[in-house]
Symmetry: C2
Subunit: 438 residues, 2 copies
C-alpha cells in the first residue's frame, strides 16, 4: 500500500516476440517512466524466448535484455519474477506455464485456446503455488473485460452476456454489409490486410469466439463450461442475400457469443451458451460494432446493462492490457485468479440448444407454385410457430425467395418445421435461419 | 491468494440509508451467498448510521445489524473493518471518513463532491494509515470506470477522455431531442420522475459532471486538477431551436466532460479540461447515449479508443459497484488508491479555455437587412475563422435565424469574432455557440 520507492524492480521473461510480444517490448521500452509512476517500481525485461535468434530482433530489446532459444532460461531463472507467455497454442505454451508456476513464478498469458480447453491444471497449480495467472489479453483485445468481470462487476449476479469477440469475422461481416461484398471477396481482402490468417478456420468457424466465451463464462458466472459441449457456428459461406435481407428488416448480421443464466445463480442454475451468426436490431449498440472492433454487453441483476467497446486485436491494443497485467503484479494487486473464490468454479448444467427460445429469421428458396406460402405457413403452424413478417422476393427462374421473421419459438420446433417443409418437397436449396437479438 | 474458508467475516458500518444506501442493504441481504462465493468470506453489516431511527428502517436490516444515530458507533468500533459513507456532502461525511481512517478502517464512498473538492487530506491519511479508500460508486453509476482506469488501462498513456456523466442532464437533453420538448417542461418531467432534485443546480449547471471529471483526471492522468479552475457550463435554459438545428446538421447536443492531454505525459504536459454542452456527431457512440444512461470514451495511446456505457444512477446500479468495492476489500485487492503510485499525483498545468481549438456551431438572431450575412462572415474572416456550412432560416418578424458551422478555430477567436458582430449592431439576442465533437 505504501509507495516504497526503493522497491526492487519486477523482472520479466517473455516467451514469444510476434505481433503482441513485439508490441509489449515496444511499450516496456517507450513507457518505462510511466510504468514506474503507475506501479511505484520498474518493470525490467530480462530475457525473450524466440525460435529465431536474429540480430535484428536483439536490436529491438531494451538494454540488458537478451534473446534465448531455451525455455528453461525463463522458467528456471531464479531472478525472473514473471513469465509472459505469448507463444500461443496448447503445446510448448502449456509446458512453459506449468514449469514457471512450479518454480513459483507469476504468469501473464493471452492464450485463450489453452485457457479455454485445458485450464484446470494451470489454475490449480497457480493456486497451490500462490502464484497469479493473469490473462486480460486473452479476450477482446484492449477491452478490460476480464478485470471488469472479476472486479467491479463482482457485486452483481450476471444474468446474460453477449459478445462480438472475433475481429476477423466482424470485419468480414461489416465489409459484406457496408460494401455489398460477397463472403469470399471479403475474406480474401481481410487476408490481404493481415486481419485474417492464411488458414482462417479458428476465426471464421467460430472457435476463437467460443474459446473466449468459455473464459467469460468462468469469470461472469463462476461456471466451468466444457469446450466440447459448446454449440458453435461460424460465418463461413455467409450468403450476401441474408445480409441484405436483414438490413431491409432493420438488422445487422453479427457473429455473437451468448451466455444466459436460467433459473438463477444457485447450484441448480443452467447455462444457455453458444456462438452463432445472429440478426442484431440496428437500435442496439452491438449492431454498431464495425470493422475489427469487439464489444461485450452484460446484463447484471443490480447494475443493469453494461456495454464495453474497443479494439479487438492488434499489436499495441493487446500489448497494452498484457502490460496492465504486469502492472497489477508489480503492485501486488488481485489475490484472485477468476473473480470467484478459486476452488469454487462449478461444473455447468447446460440447457440443450434445441430448448433455446428466440425469434428467428428464415430464408427459403422454394418452387414458384400456387399454395407454397400456405404450405410453408402450415408447417410452421403445426409446430406452434407464428410468423411476424413475410417478404416474398422476385423470382429467379422458377424459384422464389421467401423470407420471414417468426415470433419466439424453440430451436427444436424450428428445426422440426423446416423438416416438414423439406418433406413436402417445397425447397430448392438448404433453408437458412438465424436467431434474432432485439 | 489461497481460499481460506475459515477466514473471518468482513465487518461493515454503513453511514446513510438513502437511495444507494438502501440498495446496498438490500444486496447484502439478498446476495449473501454470492458474496461469499465471490470473495471467499462473509460480508456482515453491523451498524447503520441514520438520522431517523425508525422501526420501519430497522426492519429492513439483516439480522444482528442495528441502527444508530451516533457516528462514533461506526468510527470507534474496533470490530468494524470498513466504513461505507453514503451520506454525501462535504461536512459530516468528511469528518466521518477522517475519523474512520484515523482509526485504521478502510473506507468506501460514493461522494464525488468531497473527493473532487477536498480529497488530498483523505488520500494522504489513507496512505499513511495503510487503509484503502475505494470510490467506484462516485463516477458514472454502474460503469466500472474507476477500476478500469486504475487497473486494466494503467498500461496506457491516456490521451483523452470524453464523458456523459450526469444522468439528469442527459435525460433532459434526450427528451428535448426525441420529443421536441422545451427545457422547462423536460426539467419538470425529470423532477416528477425522481431523476432531478427539487434544486437541480448541481446537475443541470454542470457541477456534478465537473466533480466526476476531476476524479477521472486523477485516475487517467495522475494529475490533480483544481475544481475552482475548471471551466463549467451546464444545460440550463438550453434552447430547443439549437437541439433541432443540431439534428438537421446530423448532431445531438450532449453535456460532455472533456479532458485532453497536450504535449505528452511528461512533467510538462498540459491539460485541456472542462464541461460544456457540445454537438456530438450522430455516428459516434456517445451520441447514442440516451435517457439516464452515462458513458465514457477513452483514447489510450496503445489501446486505441474504448467506450463504456451503462446506468448512470439509481439505487441498485450504484449499490452494485459499492458492493464490488467491499468485495475487493474483502479479497484484499488493490493496494493503490488512484491507479498511480500514491505520492506522485502531480499538479496540473492547464491549457486556458480561450486557447482550445475546435469546430463550432453558432446561432445568431440578426436583423433582416441586406448585407447582414456578408458582415457576419466578414467578422469571422477577420478572426481567421472559416465557415463550413451556413443555414439561414425563415424570418420571425424582422429577425432572421442564422446558423453556421465553422472549421477549427480557437475559443478566443470565436469570442472576438462574436464581439465584432455585436459591435456592428447586427444581433437581436445573445449569440449561442457550442463546440463540436466529430
Amino acid at each position: 500500500m505504501t509507495q516504497d520507492t526503493t522497491k526492487r524492480p519486477l523482472y520479466v521473461g517473455l516467451a514469444g516476440m510476434g505481433t503482441v510480444g513485439g508490441g509489449l517490448v515496444q511499450l516496456l521500452k517507450k513507457d518505462a517512466e510511466m510504468i514506474r509512476r503507475r506501479s511505484g517500481r520498474e518493470i525490467v525485461l530480462r530475457k525473450v524466448l524466440v525460435r529465431n535468434l536474429s540480430a535484428d530482433r536483439a536490436a529491438l530489446l531494451p538494454e540488458g535484455c537478451v534473446l534465448t532459444g531455451n525455455p528453461a532460461d525463463l522458467t528456471d531463472d531464479p531472478d525472473i519474477d514473471v513469465v509472459v507467455e505469448l507463444i500461443g497454442g496448447t503445446g510448448l505454451a502449456k509446458e512453459l506455464i506449468l514449469k514457471a508456476l512450479a518454480n513459483g513464478k507469476h504468469v501473464v498469458t493471452a492464450n485463450k485456446a489453452l485457457l479455454a480447453e485445458d485450464s484446470k491444471e494451470l489454475f490449480d497449480l497457480a493456486r497451490s503455488k500462490k502464484c497469479l495467472m493473469r490473462y486480460e489479453g486473452s479476450v477482446a483485445g484492449a477491452i478490460p473485460i476480464v478485470e471488469t468481470l472479476g472486479g467491479p462487476l463482482a457485486g452483481n449476479r450476471i444474468l446474460s452476456l453477449h459478445g462480438i469477440l472475433n475481429g476477423t469475422s466482424n470485419y468480414i461481416l461489416s465489409e459484406m454489409t457496408t460494401r455489398n461484398m460477397d463472403f469470399a471477396t471479403a475474406l480474401s481482402q481481410a487476408q490481404e490486410l493481415g486481419y485474417a490468417e492464411a488458414d482462417p478456420t479458428l476465426d471464421i468457424d467460430g472457435f476463437d469466439t467460443a474459446h473466449k466465451l468459455i473464459l467469460l463464462i468462468r469469470l461472469a458466472f463462476g461456471l466451468d463450461y466444457p469446450f466440447a459441449s459448446m454449440p458453435v457456428k461460424g460465418i463461413r459461406g455467409m450468403d450476401s442475400r441474408d445480409i441484405a435481407m436483414a438490413r431491409e428488416f432493420g438488422y445487422r448480421i453479427k457473429l455473437v457469443a451468448i451466455a444466459k443464466l436460467h433459473d438463477g445463480d444457485s447450484k441448480d442454475a443452467r447455462m444457455e451458451a453458444g456462438v452463432f451468426p445472429m440478426l442484431v436490431h440496428h437500435s442496439l449498440l452491438l449492431a454498431r460494432v464495425g470493422g475489427v472492433y469487439n464489444a461485450v454487453r452484460l446484463e447484471g441483476e443490480a447494475s443493469g446493462p453494461l456495454f464495453l467497446h474497443g479494439r479487438g486485436a492488434g499489436a499495441l491494443p493487446t500489448a497494452s492490457v498484457v502490460l496492465s497485467d504486469l502492472l497489477s503484479i508489480a503492485r501486488e494487486d488481485r489475490p484472485n485468479n477468476t473473480g470467484f473464490a478459486g476452488d469454487e468454479i462449478l461444473p455447468t448444467a447446460i440447457v440443450p440448444p434445441e430448448d433455446w427460445r428466440s425469434e428467428f429469421y428464415v430464408r427459403l428458396m422454394v418452387h414458384d407454385e400456387p399454395g407454397v406460402l400456405r404450405d410453408m405457413a402450415g408447417c410452421m403452424a403445426d409446430e406452434g410457430i407464428s410468423l411476424a413478417q413475410v417478404i416474398q422476393k422476385e423470382k429467379e427462374g422458377n424459384v422464389v425467395q421467401l423470407v420471414f421473421m417468426t415470433h419466439e419459438a424453440s430451436a427444436e420446433s424450428m428445426s422440426n418445421a423446416l423438416h416438414r417443409v423439406a418433406e413436402k418437397g417445397l425447397l430448392q436449396a438448404e433453408p437458412v435461419y438465424y436467431r434474432i437479438l432485439q
